[in-house]
Symmetry: C3
Amino acid sequence: MATQRRLEFTTHGRGSRDITDDVNAVVRDSGIVCGIANVCVQHTSASLLVTENADPDVRRDLETIFARLAPDGDPAYRHDLEGDDDMAAHVRSVLSDVSLTLPVADGRLLLGTWQGVFLWEHRSHGQCRRVVVTVIG
Amino acid sequence: MATQRRLEFTTHGRGSRDITDDVNAVVRDSGIVCGIANVCVQHTSASLLVTENADPDVRRDLETIFARLAPDGDPAYRHDLEGDDDMAAHVRSVLSDVSLTLPVADGRLLLGTWQGVFLWEHRSHGQCRRVVVTVIG
Amino acid sequence: MATQRRLEFTTHGRGSRDITDDVNAVVRDSGIVCGIANVCVQHTSASLLVTENADPDVRRDLETIFARLAPDGDPAYRHDLEGDDDMAAHVRSVLSDVSLTLPVADGRLLLGTWQGVFLWEHRSHGQCRRVVVTVIG
């Protein structure tokens, strides 16, 4: 049995946003008690992240490290039509996850206590981001 | 319902190749209209990539950055039996994806307009690479 | 059809451990012959890894490179309450995989000859780590 829903989120520039409750709402509405939920972002300059949901400094530090691994405006980039953050956003997306599959139990995501699911915007400016959630049980 | 098919691709040294149509052919033949497709590469020195399908400079820049994160012939490597690209290929595979799960809708992969699915060869020389596609609906 | 089981592993500080047989035991007990198995770690400072199962130097070299990409005790980290390895562990987890979905064929994981599934502990001290395996067919 498969249920699918398309969600949209407006982002406000680079940064991550907790979408655990949004995914859980789709899981609940599916009526599927045990199985998996696939979450997939429909873009190549945004991504998904499972990380700590308690101390926001974790996600601030992830920004610091990812900015080091994929610097904005690196002189080596050839793809820079949309600005200094353009190619950096593609690299950051590849180094994290475009798609995540998570277990479902008791009709909700089965996550650890400190795990949250985040939509990670990698562009400097806000965008409208589409995310597809598919629940299988 | 699950359908599975094994695909083979001959690569021509380091670089990425669009396999979106190959995966979509398996999805179409499965007859599954709504669900997910799992794509899994059966190697530890090649991987999968979802990134921009329009400007090939994106994938050229990804090569540049990945060569920086996992340099060929790094003096720190102990695993170098098969050459300078041996261990670098394993690291590049871990930093990207061995396995991808993507939504299926209307009998095909539900991807964003600019998203393509690529098989990424990390070895310097061409190889025969096996990819397993499993469609669940 | 979905079958789910929760596994626990005691780790002994930073390093990776082959859990392929443990996952295969869940797949076998599920009775599912063809489908997928999702493996998900319930923590944000441990992760999963598919890499070479033959030469242990591969995993030693992965430690070297990941320690370079996400250094312990980096002065840029703000999140350091639990020590020098705290934030580094979160970054390492994001750069690898919290969740993996792998094909199942003939009642077992369909992996390449050299592929193993590893639980990767990123903290310096041993921990009890929970892993959820969901098999769908």
